[in-house]
């Protein structure tokens, strides 16, 4: 059986990749994708711990996260679509109206 620590290591690597991508990429869609990667890294950690301790709560939490992620994807993509309509771009650096 594969030890839980491997799953956790994979989860950590995935999360780090997500953060890195979020910071490096300029395209809103790709940044969104990076967020999804981070979410799934968290999911993996949840199920790994659930299996190690023999508890179901962790797996239940994953279902919640998947559901919320689906809803978030719907809202997030809609926002990106509207931003594109208004600004004719999805490059994050070009959308900086909050600059002080």
């Amino acid at each position: 059986m594969i030890p839980a620590s491997w799953f956790l290591a994979l989860s950590g690597v995935l999360f780090a990749l997500g953060v890195l991508a979020f910071l490096i990429k300029k395209d809103l869609l790709l940044m969104f994708l990076a967020v999804e990667v981070m979410l799934n890294a968290a999911n993996l950690a949840f199920v790994a711990f659930a299996r190690r301790h023999g508890l179901l709560e962790g797996q239940a939490a994953v279902f919640f996260i998947i559901t919320v992620a689906a809803a978030e994807a719907a809202v997030g993509l809609a926002i990106i679509l509207l931003v594109f309509r208004r600004k004719k771009t999805v490059k994050a650096d070009e959308i900086s109206v909050l600059k002080g």
Partner: protein, 634 residues
């Protein structure tokens, strides 16, 4: 009914409230009716209480006190809203409500065409209410409320025609100068709380009689309270507001001078007579200030050409007399002069108002003269008032003035007595000068005023006749002792309130001599006036030419207003301006603006962090998380 006296001030209070709130919606007839009725009700209730008091006075017992509720109760200080009714209150309440009622009726005619008719009557009622609060209070706190109330009302009524800058300024002046005295008055009350432990008049009297109150404390309190009285009763050096107060409507002047306001100081001193009697120094001050004011104001009255201002200076002078009376320990004589003065001074003012009414507002006596043929009733009233105030024998002013002068002589203060006589000569002189210039001699009217010359309507002349009767007859309530035993009803009536001091008794011969002196002095003044102003005005004109400097000095009121302006008002103004310019603008505003500028600068410095780029925010977030995690792990 025995306890109903506390409702006396209630009627004018209701009237004032009603008229000031709803008055503008009422018809004029309703306003006059309500305004006069409330004061009349007060007067009738005062009369009933007075009769009830006389009936029970034989049975003995202290003053009647009605505590409405405990108002203040903090540490040593406790004061209830409580009223008291005794002989002194009865006299004051009757004078205040009686004279005020007559003035209210007169005002119906005098103010007929005024725009703010309801406001006028509302304020008049409020004035009467404040004064009644003052004279009926059973402790200094409630008295102080009334004291401030009359100050406020005088401000509102002197500045009644506030569109006129002079009237607005006069109202402000009256208010501010009163404030100076009131500050001292308040400190006096606080010392009273400190030394006596309360402000109830009974408590003060007991403390004074038991010797709990030392002479030093009594002097301190007495002088502080007297400073307040100087402001309210227009004595040196705080008298300057009263002549300017002539800017108000004439009935208001009559009210201020006769019934309400200026008599408050005299009443206060008489009310606290046990305290003042403890302190010879305070009494001496009262007498000297009174005598000095009496002479000083009389000199100015001799040269003024404004009919109302002459009367104003005359009031200041007569108030000086009342303080002489109080200062020599003859409180009852002081109150008696207050009583007679209320009649003849309101009579004189209302007659002057009638003259102004007839002449379309003319005030300058140089443009009057010969009016006795046109205004016979007003002339008769003014003549009665003049005779009464001049101290012609058998009119009220003679008896009250003589009582004060006799007591002053008997107390051994001969300088005060001599000053009083000097003021009496001048009083007779300037009053007859006024009478001759206004009603006798050639007509010097403006043609436009002459065309509209008319006697006043009955609503104005009937009050004059009532007051004329009182001015003539009021003196018979207290005849000198030499006229027979038991004729001094007035002082004997007040004996329950005013403790009889150690009186120096004069021989019959001396008393007669004093009476003869007073009479002679009055006659000298009158004869002088006739010599100066009888047919032609040669003598005064020659005098003015001979002593032009002196004349200007007195006619310009000794430059006291200018002096106050130069010594107090201007330095204050300049100082305030300097403080405004150098401290306020630079330091205060500088600090505030500096704080704002600092915030702006800091914001500008920090806003480089606000890039608007999502990635920068995300990086900051990551760094933050790493720091927190680092802390938790390590």
């Amino acid at each position: 009914m025995k306890e109903a006296f506390w409702m006396i001030p209630l009627f004018p209070a209701v009237g004032a409230l009603g008229l000031l709130v709803f008055g503008s919606r009422l018809r004029r007839g309703a306003v006059s009716f309500l305004g006069c009725l409330t004061v009349l009700a007060s007067f009738l209730l005062s009369l009933a209480s007075f009769l009830g008091l006389s009936a029970t006075a034989a049975a003995g017992g202290g003053p009647r006190i009605k505590v409405l509720f405990d108002w203040l109760d903090a540490g040593r200080l406790s004061a209830g809203l409580s009223f008291q009714f005794d002989a002194l209150t009865a006299v004051m309440a009757l004078v205040v409500t009686g004279v005020s009622f007559v003035i209210h009726v007169y005002s119906v005619g005098y103010m007929k065409g005024d725009r703010s008719y309801a406001r006028y009557f509302g304020l008049l009622n409020l004035f009467v209410f404040s004064m009644l609060l003052l004279v009926m209070a059973s402790n200094m706190i409630v008295l102080f409320i009334g004291w401030e109330g009359v100050g406020l009302c005088s401000y509102l009524l002197i500045g009644f025609w506030f569109e006129k800058p002079a009237a607005a300024a006069a109202g402000k002046k009256a208010f501010l100068i009163n404030r100076i005295g009131d500050a001292a008055f308040l400190v006096g009350i606080l010392f009273l709380v400190l030394f006596v432990g309360g402000t109830e008049f009974r408590l003060i009297e007991r403390a004074a009689l038991n010797g709990e109150l030392g002479a030093g404390a009594a002097t301190l309190i007495g002088l502080l309270l007297f400073a307040g009285a100087c402001g309210k009763s227009a004595q040196l050096p705080l008298y300057v507001w009263l002549p300017d107060a002539m800017e108000g409507p004439t009935p208001v002047s009559a009210l201020i001078h006769a019934a309400t306001m200026v008599t408050a100081g005299v009443y206060m001193v008489a009310r606290l007579n046990p305290l003042y009697s403890l302190s010879p120094a305070a009494l001496e001050t009262v007498a000297v200030v009174g005598a000095a004011t009496a002479v000083f104001a009389a000199t100015m009255a001799c040269v003024q050409n404004d009919i109302k201002r002459v009367l104003a200076y005359s009031t200041i002078s007569q108030l000086g007399y009342m303080f002489i009376g109080c200062g020599v320990g003859a409180y009852a004589a002081g109150i008696f002069h207050l009583f007679t003065h209320a009649f003849f001074k309101s009579l004189l003012f209302l007659s002057a108002g009638s003259v102004m009414h007839a002449l379309s507002g003319e005030l300058d006596i140089r443009r009057m003269g010969g009016l006795r043929r046109h205004l016979p009733l007003t002339y008769a009233a003014f003549l009665t008032g003049t005779i009464a105030i001049s101290g012609v024998p058998f009119f009220s002013g003679f008896f009250s003035k003589d009582a004060i002068l006799t007591k002053a002589f008997a107390s051994g203060r001969h300088v005060v007595w001599a000053l009083g006589l000097l003021a009496a000569v001048m009083t007779a002189f300037y009053m007859f000068r006024l009478l001759l210039r206004v009603f006798h001699g050639q007509e010097r009217l403006e043609p436009s005023a002459k065309a509209r010359l008319h006697e006043s309507p009955p609503v104005m002349t009937v009050p004059l006749l009532i007051l004329a009767f009182c001015s003539a007859a009021g003196g018979y309530l207290s005849l000198p002792v030499v006229f027979g035993k038991g004729l001094d009803r007035f002082p004997r009536y007040l004996e329950s309130v005013i403790l009889p001091g150690a009186e120096a008794h004069l021989s019959r011969g001396t008393e007669w001599l004093l009476i003869a002196t007073s009479t002679a002095v009055a006659l000298v003044g009158i004869v002088l006036a006739f010599l100066f102003y009888g047919r032609r005005t040669v003598v005064p004109e020659t005098l003015i030419r001979t002593f032009p400097r002196l004349y200007r000095l007195v006619a310009d009121k000794y430059y006291i207003d200018e002096l106050y302006g130069a010594v107090i008002v201007n330095p204050l103004l300049r100082g305030s301006e300097a403080v405004y310019r150098d401290f306020d603008v630079r330091v205060i505003d500088g600090a505030v603006n500096g704080a704002a500028r600092l915030t702006a600068r800091a914001g500008k410095g920090l806003n480089v962090l606000q890039t608007g780029r999502v990635r920068d925010y995300a990086l900051a977030l990551l760094v933050g998380v790493l720091i927190v995690v680092g802390f938790l792990v390590l």
